[in-house]
Symmetry: C2
Subunit: 244 residues, 2 copies
Amino acid sequence: MTYCVAMNLADGLVFVSDSRTNAGVDHIATFRKLYRFGIPGERLIVLQTAGNLATSQAVVSLLRHRLAADGVNLNNVPSMFAAARLVGDTLREVVEHDASPSMNSGIDMSSSFLVGGQIKGDVPELYNLYPQGNFISATVDTPYFQIGESKYGKPILDRALKHATGLEQALRCALISFDSTIRSNLSVGMPLDVLVYRKDSLELPAGYRVAEGDAYYEGIREQWCSNLRRMLVELPSAPALYLE
Amino acid sequence: MTYCVAMNLADGLVFVSDSRTNAGVDHIATFRKLYRFGIPGERLIVLQTAGNLATSQAVVSLLRHRLAADGVNLNNVPSMFAAARLVGDTLREVVEHDASPSMNSGIDMSSSFLVGGQIKGDVPELYNLYPQGNFISATVDTPYFQIGESKYGKPILDRALKHATGLEQALRCALISFDSTIRSNLSVGMPLDVLVYRKDSLELPAGYRVAEGDAYYEGIREQWCSNLRRMLVELPSAPALYLE
């Protein structure tokens, strides 16, 4: 499985992905699921993937190879909407190419994508691409999307994340959401890939890889866990009626 | 969907169930999913159900009707293990009776159960029955089980619940786990049915129904949510490296 979250906030974009892939529990590996495209000063486009790894990688490889060729590519699409369409079209192309009723029966070849970024002259946008290749856009009401193993880490986002949340604060919220998921589900694992983009900077952030044992991440994990336990102790006691 | 959690702790047993059932999003109703059996001073047996409501209700109805008849029933089984077996056997009987390849194609007739309680002379036990009717037992290492929509509410249990946690504290933990689930998933809903059993009391607790707007539940929900937000603000800031 996989867990990716992306946020489109007042101040910019936040992306965090895990890097565990598994085919059964006895075939676990580390693969990056966060890909950065763009031209400094002109555009940043970030892709995150979940689902069939062969499909996801083929889509990203085709998108990369085509950057140098003539025709529509992520370096010349006129809008983030067009970028999301291009990713969706490439996804359809890959699935149609690889589909083989005689060889793939029972195998799920599908992939989901999050596509976010900013192209000069436009505001930052964030899209959630379904395995069918069509997509929805994040809004002020719903400023974040998740793909993959999303349930464990959703409550903290629903409780604490707003469109107005600052980037650094939103990143902390995302990291806690990952900790919740990693603690409860083996199929999501370290390291985490983080990328934070400041609105209108049109820079290509290097991003950061949070490795196992990372001091900051371990610190907030422990603090969060011990504070949660303390919060639970400090809640008022249940009325006697509850216990009778 | 459904969400039920049950805990077998040093001091006794805690059960909490939601009461929402749905067949699609346009057919929502309230049904109790927590059932109490037993003889005061001699035994308490609690069942919680998730899955196909017709199957769950038929199992509980048969178990109830047979209390008065000759033969093995929940009032005379010699152990909690035998009680769990009886529930599993009744589940198989119902599914086999209702199974009809021509009428049920594509319909999931299966149900899961949590079966917990204490019979005089034994310690309290808790079992998680799979849809196949076989089951596993809670232990000191893993003192809780969930059935139904379990993912949203699992992180708080994994972080804060231990076998030594007191009953009242464990109940709070369960209620927060329900709040996390209800906030993020429409298919789990109020009211909640709560039952707390003190080890060796051999009483049949009345249990408590937490209705929408319940003052205590609303109070801890709000306190939890605002404290979580504060905790996030109070975490140390992410290093600059994370944001570059």
